[in-house]
């Protein structure tokens, strides 16, 4: 008989319903004094610890420029934790225990010595905390430092260790195709692709993951999921908020860079992809990139036929008067940055030939809503021609936020003597059917990285493909001016966005 502990498996782990347990490791956060670390990363790691999803052999090492002791760093995080977290449930003893795993060192990203010191500190911590040389480096800095930090890690011999080493790169991933490629090249010079985790917090959302389940755990939708039955797809990603004090950042970005080329395309690829052979990281990501590679290139000269841009002026949103984009702090009064964009994409493949995907995303729209609407073709023969009402198509709506859920719209006979049809919605609300708590996107993503599962992270080819698709649009817009602002805050974007669909005899859903 073999001994249960001779094998690599932990004999006590079988059937313990704590889902997935992580290996010991140290998470080093570059930009550790920043907002993201204080508001999202550390609370997410604390929550994972309390859910017993992290081992005791775990440490967080903050690395930033300001001089600070471990104690001061802990105090800084504690303050943010109390401020942004749930004050009622804050427990001093639990925090103290968690704070024992927080460490800090100051250093300049340009200073090679600081990275050598980082290496020594990590080894020390391995000894103290039993973290077995497993490391995650989290790039939570301004994007201009990503390449530099990566290079320094390589120079200091920290790209490989005695355990595993992974890096998480925050968004935005590049500013255009060229900078994304360059960043990928810089990362690839130091790390293997399997070590690189490019975060797209949209993929951490439960409903986005549910898209995979919806499409591939149900047999009734897949046969309809193609050009035979689908007329077109509409993807809406609307925000009611403006730039919220991030005017200076947004001036450089715009909605295509900020939302469409990453988040919206990730969701689009999940709708358009073929069924993967397995749920492995590359199994899913291979199919996603394959779908995006089928997107028909938008000709530089014909961008207006496929893309519309907009910028909001003053108006009313949710009952409040709001200023126009050009009046926001940090924004040029003559800004030509787009706060709204609508695109029409075609996928040139067997499944989707001739089926347009309409995408719109913008700020200061009437409400916050992200949804995918699959509009089916009309019935082939109109049987009910003597009714007054036009026949509406069936629509399957997958709402990502808020009120995550799925709605199927179909026709039903109105009770009575007449043959009249009324369109009804059959609703499934995700949150309501399965309780309230869904994990925060950052919790899910951090845990995935610690577990070495990169399915929900963006792969190199996907980041570059996103930029490739939007490059002609950005180029054309750079070359020509347009009259901004062209939509009032609190409306669904410029007139041209409606015309984009009306030209094809279609219209946006009223949301």
């Amino acid at each position: 008989m073999t001994s249960p502990t001779e094998t690599f498996e932990n004999p006590l782990r079988a059937g313990v319903r704590l889902e997935r347990a992580a290996e010991p490791c140290i998470v080093t956060i570059f930009g550790a004094t920043g907002d993201l670390t204080r508001r999202k990363l550390v609370p997410a790691l604390y929550s994972l610890m309390q859910q017993r999803l992290l081992p005791a052999e775990f440490a967080i090492l903050g690395f930033s420029k300001p001089e600070m002791s471990d104690e001061q760093f802990r105090a800084l995080l504690r303050e943010a934790f109390v401020e942004y977290g749930d004050k009622e449930t804050f427990d001093e003893a639990l925090w103290e225990s968690f704070a024992g795993s927080l460490f800090y060192m100051s250093g300049d990203f340009a200073d090679a010595e600081a990275f050598k010191a980082l290496g020594s500190r990590l080894e020390e911590l391995d000894g103290e905390r039993g973290t077995e040389g497993n490391r995650i480096f989290y790039f939570s800095t301004a994007p201009r430092f990503f390449g530099l930090i990566s290079e320094q890690l390589g120079e200091a011999g920290l790209s490989q260790g005695k355990g595993w080493t992974r890096v998480i790169v925050e968004k935005p991933f590049g500013h255009d195709l060229e900078s994304a490629r360059q960043l990928n090249t810089e990362l690839a010079a130091v790390f293997h692709e399997e070590q690189v985790y490019r975060i797209d917090h949209y993929l951490g959302k439960e409903t986005v993951q549910n898209l995979l389940v919806f499409r591939f755990a149900n047999s009734i939708f897949e046969p309809l999921w193609n050009r035979q039955y689908i007329d077109h797809v509409q993807i809406t990603n609307a925000e009611a908020i403006g730039v919220e004090g991030r005017g200076a950042y947004y001036e450089e970005a715009g909605v295509v860079r900020d939302m469409i080329q990453n988040h919206v395309f990730q969701v689009t690829s999940l709708i358009a992809m073929e069924p993967p052979a397995s749920l492995s990281a590359n199994g899913v990501r291979d199919e996603k990139i394959k779908a995006m590679q089928a997107v028909r290139p938008i000709p530089l000269k014909g961008v207006d036929e496929f893309a519309v841009r907009g910028q909001y002026g003053a108006g009313y949103v949710l009952g409040e008067k709001v200023p126009g984009y050009r009046e926001e702090t940090g924004v040029s009064p003559a800004s030509s940055t787009e706060t709204f964009a609508a695109l029409k994409l075609y996928f040139d493949n067997w499944r989707w030939a001739g089926v347009p995907f309409y995408i719109r995303s913008g700020k200061r729209l009437p409400k916050r809503v992200t949804e995918i609407a699959i509009q089916f073709k009309e019935v082939p023969h109109r049987l009910f021609t003597d009714t007054d009402e036009p026949l509406e198509p069936n629509v399957l709506v997958i709402r990502i936020q808020p009120n995550e859920g799925i709605t199927l719209r179909f026709g039903a006979k109105l009770p009575g003597q007449m043959m009249r049809i009324r369109w009804v919605n059959m609703d499934f609300r995700y949150g309501s059917s399965f309780g309230v708590h869904t994990p925060e996107a950052y919790e899910r993503l951090l845990l995935d990285c610690i577990l070495g599962d990169s399915t929900l992270y963006a792969r190199r080819d996907m980041t570059e493909r996103g930029w490739e698709i939007v490059t002609p649009i950005l180029e054309a817009w750079k070359q020509s001016a347009t009259a901004f602002p062209n939509y009032d805050a609190g409306t669904w974007g410029p007139k041209a966005a409606f015309e984009l669909m009306e030209r094809d005899g279609r219209r946006w859903r009223r949301l």
Partner: protein, 406 residues
């Protein structure tokens, strides 16, 4: 999230149970909840949601009131048709009466949608109690999984328990409520052995309460360096708070936890090796491939609400590489602390939220699972063998059927 429960309404019954009458009454209730037939616009509409059937068995009116309260928490995550049966077996004979009610969840005031489930309450007294399963079964919503929550002392050989169990995909009970912990644990083990191939799975809330202990103990050995030390464990000490009934018996939870360790690690009970230790401690020897391991159960004092709880578990290895892996609950029950000690050095320790999950939380988790929990079944079987050895009735038998046959 706010939960409201309508006043239960009696359904007039003819001589035999009229399922249609119940359904009609529920439909009427829905119409009224929705504010009449016209109130179906997008914002204000009610959603009648059911993802499962939940049969609940209680034995008293007080328990019914508690269950009504608990159900409003459970159903917010698991909208269902709940069929609650009250069997007052010792009361004077009264035929089954039926009440229907609904409960709704709204996420705050105003325009959000309400998510509603429904409840049928069946009450029987005296000899009519045995008719409850036949009254409940026709009320199940077709094609949805059926869970039985037996919220009473488990009566493993009882006819009502058996019939309801057979109608269910999964039976949820609580071995912490065992009136005779030793006798009932042995009966449970026998039942699980007999029903190994049956469709119905069993869920023990007491086992669910052990999940975090098992997770933390298992977590020690996720660390590669520690895993080899598992091989050298030579003493396991489990401290527990005495059970409410039969305080001189070892709490079922402590026995099941020991059974879990034994079944996972392939330990066998060694015959005639149990002994009373000092101050209420019971020790026994188990062995694995000729290596002896001492199991020690020690009863400790805690406040009343903690009857039957685990207070501390230590896995100790001596001699060559002394080490201790400890999970301990703080005296007030609020925290769990884990510690790893090698030699005299404390290598890692941390404090975690410690209180047990509430009953609705535990039940909610169980409602997510269908089918058998083999690890539990093996743990109970091993616990029964340990118990027999402790009580001196034991044959030398392996504790983990899988390891022994493999």
């Amino acid at each position: 999230m706010k939960s409201t429960h309508t006043t239960p309404r009696a359904v007039q019954l003819a001589e035999t149970l009229d399922v249609q009458a119940v359904e009609r009454e529920l439909s009427r209730l829905w119409m009224e909840n929705a504010g009449g037939a016209g109130a179906s616009d997008e914002e204000g509409a009610l959603m009648r949601a059911r993802v499962l059937n939940l049969l609940v068995y209680v034995a008293t009116n007080e328990a019914l009131e508690e269950v009504n309260e608990l159900l409003s928490h459970v159903t917010s995550a698991h909208p269902c048709r709940a069929i609650v049966m009250v069997a007052e077996r010792e009361a004077e004979d009264v035929d089954i009466e039926m009440l229907v009610s609904s409960y709704c969840q709204s996420e705050g005031g105003g325009k959000e949608r309400n998510l509603c489930g429904e409840q049928v309450t069946l009450r029987a007294r005296g000899r009519f109690s045995v008719e409850l399963p036949s009254a409940a079964e026709p009320l199940l919503v077709p094609d949805l999984p059926v869970f039985l929550w037996w919220r009473d002392r488990p009566r493993l050989n009882d006819e009502v328990f058996r019939k309801l169990g057979h109608a269910s995909d999964r039976v949820v009970f609580d071995s912490a409520d065992f009136l005779e912990p030793y006798r009932d644990l042995l009966a449970l083990s026998a039942l699980l052995q007999k029903e190994r191939a049956a469709h119905t799975g069993l869920s023990d809330l007491n086992w669910a309460r052990l999940t975090s202990w098992r997770g933390l103990l298992a977590g020690f050995y996720d660390v590669r360096e520690y895993r080899t030390r598992l091989e050298n464990v030579d003493r396991v000490r489990i401290e527990y708070v005495a059970p409410e009934h039969k305080p001189h018996e070892i709490a079922p939870k402590a026995l099941i936890l020991a059974g879990w360790l034994a079944s996972r690690l392939g330990w066998r009970a060694a015959a005639g090796q149990s002994a009373e230790g000092e101050a209420g401690a019971r020790t026994m020897q188990v062995e694995r491939q000729g290596r002896a391991i001492t199991l020690e159960f020690r009863s400790v004092e805690r406040r009343e609400a903690m009857h039957g709880w685990i207070a501390r578990v230590e896995l100790l290895a001596g001699a060559d590489a002394p080490s201790a892996f400890v999970v301990a609950r703080s005296e007030d029950g609020r925290y769990l602390e884990t510690q790893v000690l090698t030699g005299d050095e404390r290598v890692a320790s941390r404090l975690l939220v410690g209180g047990d999950k509430t009953e609705p939380e535990l039940l909610g988790r169980e409602l997510e699972i269908l089918g058998h929990d083999r690890i539990y079944e093996e743990a109970v079987h091993a616990a029964a063998l340990l118990l027999e050895a402790l009580e001196g009735k034991q044959k030398q038998v392996g504790l983990n059927p899988q390891i022994n046959t493999g």
